[in-house]
């Protein structure tokens, strides 16, 4: 069972995403901010990270950057899952190291497709 780390500060959305992912047979771990994401990522060893960008403490871009700069987390696929959907904001997410972008409100069908694609791709590990 693939493991997904959901980094999301909004509890409702965190819950929503968790529910959908669990329905789709994923093991779901959560973190509520960038710092927690950094703290748990090594113990969780997720197959995919869903990263909100508008996070407290360290935001999604900063967290992604740090994850990418550490050798033991550099290769974990990250999907930006955010309501920051303006062109620049999308571009920065990809530039900073996210593998895919999914806008909020969430099209779960599309999101699940992306997760599966990334897990299946050689990039994961």
């Amino acid at each position: 069972m693939s493991r997904v780390l959901v980094v999301e500060d909004d509890p409702e959305i965190r819950e929503l995403v968790t529910t959908y992912l669990m329905q789709a047979d994923f093991e779901v771990m959560t973190a509520i901010d960038g710092i927690e994401a950094l703290r748990v990522v090594r113990s969780v060893q997720p197959d995919v990270i869903l990263m909100d960008m508008g996070l407290p403490k360290l935001n999604g871009w900063q967290t992604t950057q740090r994850l990418r700069s550490r050798h033991d987390t550099a290769n974990i696929p990250i999907i930006a899952l955010t309501a920051y959907v303006l062109e620049n904001e999308r571009k920065w997410a990809i530039d900073i190291g996210c593998n895919a972008f999914e806008a909020k409100p969430i099209n779960f069908e599309s999101l699940l497709n992306k997760i599966r694609t990334l897990i299946a791709s050689p990039l994961a590990r």
Binding site: D10, I35, K57, L86, P105
Partner: protein, 1010 residues
């Protein structure tokens, strides 16, 4: 005119001179030639006459010798010998009887004298009268001196010559009579005579063809001419009395006749006979003619020569001189900017050229005078105040200056003391202008800001200073306002961007939950029993979707309004696009029972435009049509319109529907924001009411437009017309509103990016809750996050998990103390490089440095020091006065270095951008001074690179440049560096002041205000 006269007189004088010289020459030549010719011709004449006289003398002599010969013949004849002895008359009978001998031989006298002196026989014949005459008396007696004629004493003697007889002169030949065998004594003397009478003279004249005359010198009455000639001959003979022959003299009687004369001496030396030969002066006349001809030729040649000389002089010199003079006369003293004609290559043309050069210089000089006047006028009328002072008094001030300083006029101020403030700025000796700004208090108390340019003004021996002043009070005010306006505009722009971003995010977040949970709920209620609940959920879902559409449209509109909607031009295949959009709206169409048709798509081909925007518009128009049409047909018709606009084709997309149509009075309102024809339609048909307005804006954005024709109950046609190729010009035209310069200079000046990208984490490990609370609260910044741990274990765990950029570690911790934590951090390869600042009460905690701490901070905490320590640890701790100087010119670099070092800076030098970057990586300086014109990496690129370096974002940069900056470059520089100084227009003071100010201004991590 005076000088023209002088020139004329010059001409006259030269003419006169030529004439006089020629005359003199001719006269001298004539004189000389006359003398020479006359003398030579005289000699020739004398010689000719002498020769003729000699001819006559010779003729006489020939006659004499002939006579002598004849006498010899008869004297040596035996018959004569016998006769003279015996006097045989037969001999006379035979030889002399009929006188024929005398007549034939032209002999006038024959006498035979015997040894006794007795005349044996004598006969005489007068050839004039042709009759026998008595022999002359002297030749019958031979007495006295005539006895010398008898030669019989001398056997070999013979005598001949002229004998002046009393009767007439006669040539005489006397010869001793000898036997033919020449033995024995001469028997006597034979004497023959030939009278020089008229006949003989005429005969000789005939022979010689010379008409000579003979005159006896012993004649009682001598003609005067003869006397004169004989005297002259005697005079001529005197110097040389031994000469045998008497001299021949010549004497010109007149111009026609010359006479030659000589004396034929008497045999018995009793005077002689004067031979006179009168001849015409042929030679003399010839000489005269020659002289005349020669004179004429000479005069003619002289005249010709004179004329030639005159003409040559006239042509070569005088005419040109006069023309030069005329041209010079015509030059207007006020306008010497003319040039004389220069012809030839000689002294005159050189003179003309010299005059031309002089004229040029004169013109130049006049121009300079005029220019000087103009400059003076310019200075006088200059709107800038100009003052020349000697350090104390005003020496000169222009009108603007007088008005600026004291609302006065120049005469009132000249000589007055200049304000000390203005005097104080002294000029540089090397002439480079000193530029400075100065606040000046006028006489009326008003404060004005002045821009000063101070220059040395050498004025004779006086060391004066020129001050150019401009009142920049207003300009400064305007600049300030502009700066404020720009700041405000930038802020407003940032606020707009921020607003759009935030609104988008904040609206989407709840919608995510609403839509997500609605869907989630729906999926769990897939039961027919829950039909009502499902219906309700559908309403929630629809409302949410509608809200999302509105949000999207509003966002798009806002972005267009803010000028932040970006257009990406690319190839758009119309057939692909149209099938995409019709596929997308087909479900919507089918919901209302509509058919979708497509026309003309294949013929259009490819557009160059923004596909996303074009698709958005088409989708909007099509979905609109679908919504307002029931059981009808929606047609997308695409038409190419060639050559419709200037150098661009257009493409028209028409969406026809067979829907309800729109009333004419509603057409105009239709494109306004949030307008539907009837507010009830929103409820009935759905839609945001923004679609058409947005579509129209989007159409404008890609250079197109939307028009509408409609008929109520029949249908509507929405027509989008776009250029086939979207050009840069159209992009600019459509990008409304114009983005501010700051945005142009840095398109990503949106406040979002930097803070997201650059973040640093500081981990504070302390058991004191106050510290854990205080430090983050006071020092946290958007890019600087503080994480806390209250004991060593937690600290180590967090450090390993977060890999913070800096750790602040308290020494006194429960359980695991700070030193142990430090030790462990240094043991771990991941955390080994993280700088650690130790917090301690101990004053001698320096040992921590040995253990690997980056620094020691004493408790109680001084928040400023902590802030500096954090900044130093994070930014590579610039030394307080470390300055990087980037300048390629070695002289200027040396000058800057000396100037800066005097002010206490430690200067590191780089001659190129590459070297600068290497030095920057080693150690970030406190300040960088950068020249823009660098070899290789130029200044602007270097600055960009610095800004991207870790910590380079906050490095103060002072740009020093001689480059003329374009507006864009200035804007870009102003956005990226702290200060720009123009080379050549600033003082070293200014450099130092700015350098100090920039470093003071920089507070590495500013504590938040409490």
């Amino acid at each position: 005119m005076l000088s023209s006269n002088q020139f004329f007189s010059l001409r006259a004088r030269i003419l006169l001179l030529i004439v006089v010289l020629l005359l003199l020459l001719v006269v001298v030549l004539l004189l000389f030639s006359n003398v020479i010719i006359a003398q030579s011709f005289e000699q020739v004449e004398q010689q000719a006459v002498t020769v003729r006289v000699e001819q006559v003398v010779n003729a006489l002599d020939n006659s004499r010798s002939g006579l002598l010969g004849l006498a010899l013949d008869y004297a040596a004849w035996d018959d004569s010998y016998a006769f003279v002895q015996d006097g045989n008359p037969e001999y006379i009978e035979l030889n002399f009887r009929d006188l024929s001998f005398l007549i034939d031989n032209n002999v006038s006298y024959v006498g035979f004298v015997n040894r006794a002196g007795e005349v044996v026989y004598a006969v005489a014949y007068d050839h004039v009268t042709e009759s026998e005459i008595a022999p002359p008396a002297a030749l019958t007696s031979f007495t006295g001196e005539y006895a010398q004629l008898l030669q019989h004493e001398h056997a070999d003697g013979a005598l001949s010559g002229l004998l002046l007889l009393d009767e007439l002169p006669m040539l005489i030949a006397a010869h001793p009579i000898l036997p033919s065998i020449e033995q024995g004594e001469p028997a006597g003397t034979l004497i023959m005579g030939r009278a020089l009478d008229e006949t003989e003279v005429a005969r000789l004249a005939e022979i010689t063809r010379l008409p000579f005359t003979l005159a006896r010198l012993d004649a009682p009455v001598l003609e005067p001419l003869s006397t004169q000639l004989s005297t002259a001959i005697a005079a001529a003979q005197t110097p040389n009395p031994d000469s045998l022959n008497p001299p021949i003299i010549t004497d010109a009687l007149n111009t026609q006749t010359i006479v030659g004369a000589t004396i034929l001496p008497d045999l018995l030396e009793r005077g002689g006979l004067l031979l006179t030969l009168e001849l015409p002066r042929e030679v003399f006349l010839l000489a005269q003619n020659t002289t005349r001809d020669y004179t004429l030729v000479l005069l003619g040649a002289g005249l010709l020569f004179g004329v030639l000389v005159w003409v040559t002089l006239e042509r070569v010199v005088l005419t040109r001189l006069l023309r030069l003079d005329r041209q010079v006369q015509q030059i207007d003293a006020e306008h010497p900017d003319v040039q004389l004609d220069v012809s030839g290559h000689d002294e005159i043309s050189q003179l003309a050229m010299a005059i031309n050069q002089m004229l040029s210089r004169l013109t130049l000089a006049q121009l300079q005078i005029i220019n000087a006047q103009r400059y003076r006028q310019l200075i006088e009328l200059s709107p800038d105040a100009i003052v020349v002072h000697d350090g104390q008094q005003i020496r000169y001030i222009n009108t603007a200056g007088a008005r600026l300083l004291a609302d006065s006029v120049p005469p009132a101020l000249i000589g007055q003391q200049l304000d000390p403030l203005l005097r104080a700025v002294s000029a540089k000796a090397d002439g480079t202008p000193v530029m400075t700004d100065q606040v000046f208090t006028r006489a009326d108390g008003a404060q004005i800001e002045l821009e000063l340019v101070v220059l040395p003004f050498p004025d004779h021996e006086l060391d004066a200073t020129q001050v150019i002043m401009r009142n920049i009070t207003e300009r400064k005010q305007v600049e300030k306002e502009l700066r404020l306006a720009k700041v405000a505009a930038d802020a407003a722009n940032r606020a707009k961007s921020q607003f759009i971003s935030t609104m988008s995010h904040e609206l989407r977040t709840p919608l995510t939950a609403i839509l997500g949970y609605a869907d989630l709920l729906k999926s769990t209620l897939s039961d027919a029993d829950n039909a009502e609940a499902l219906q309700t959920l559908s309403h929630i879902r629809n409302a949410g979707t509608h809200l999302l559409a509105i949000i999207n449209d509003v966002l798009d509109l806002s972005k267009i309004e803010a000028g932040q909607m970006q257009v990406h031009v690319d190839q758009v295949h119309v057939d692909v696009l149209s099938s995409n959009v019709t596929d997308a709206v087909r479900p919507l169409a089918e919901r209302n029972g509509n058919q979708i048709a497509v026309r003309g798509v294949d013929a259009v081909g490819v557009l160059q435009t923004d596909e996303v925007r074009l698709r958005q518009i088409l989708l909007n128009l099509l979905s609109n049509a679908c919504k307002f049409t029931h059981n009808g047909t929606i047609t997308l018709e695409v038409t190419a319109i060639p050559d419709a606009g200037p150098d661009n084709d257009l493409v028209r997309f028409a969406v026809h529907d067979t829907g309800i149509g729109i009333r004419p009075e509603d057409l105009a309102r239709l494109f306004q924001d949030f307008v539907q024809v009837d507010s009830s339609t929103t409820r009935k048909y759905g839609g945001t009411g923004l679609g058409l307005a947005l579509s129209r804006r989007l159409a404008q954005l890609i250079g197109g437009e939307i028009t509408l024709t409609s008929e109520v109950g029949v249908g509507s046609i929405f027509t989008l017309t776009v250029p086939r190729t979207l050009t840069a010009e159209q992009l600019n035209l459509t990008a409304l509103p114009t983005p501010s310069p700051a945005m142009l200079a840095n398109p990503l000046s949106s406040p979002l990016k930097p803070k997201y990208v650059e973040s640093q984490i500081v981990l504070v490990i302390d058991d004191d809750p106050a510290i854990l609370d205080l430090l983050p609260r006071l020092l946290a910044q958007p890019n600087l996050h503080f994480e806390t741990a209250s004991d060593g274990r937690e600290g180590l765990e967090l450090a390993a998990a977060l890999l913070p950029d800096l750790i602040i570690l308290d020494v006194l911790l429960p359980e695991l103390d700070g030193w142990s934590v430090l030790h462990e951090l240094k043991q771990n390869s991941e955390t080994h490089d993280i700088p650690v600042l130790m917090l301690t009460f101990s004053p001698d905690a320096q040992q921590g440095l040995v253990l690997g701490a980056a620094g020691i901070l004493n408790k109680p905490v001084d928040i400023e020091r902590v802030a500096h320590a954090i900044a130093a640890a994070l930014h590579g701790a610039p030394a307080a006065h470390d300055l990087l100087l980037v300048e390629d010119d070695p002289d200027l670099r040396g000058y800057f270095r000396r100037t800066l070092e005097r002010d206490g800076w430690q200067v590191r030098e780089a001659e190129s951008g590459t070297v600068a970057l290497a030095l920057l990586v080693q150690q970030l300086p406190a300040l960088a001074v950068i020249d823009l014109m660098l070899p290789g990496i130029d200044g602007i690129t270097l600055i960009g690179a610095i800004r991207r370096m870790p910590g380079g974002n906050t490095l103060p940069i002072l740009v020093v440049t001689a480059k003329d900056l374009s507006v864009e470059e200035q804007v870009q520089l102003n956005a990226s560096v702290e200060q720009v100084l123009r080379k050549g227009s600033f003082h070293s003071d200014e450099l130092l002041r700015n350098a100090q100010a920039l470093v003071r201004w920089r507070t590495p991590v500013a504590p938040k205000e409490q």
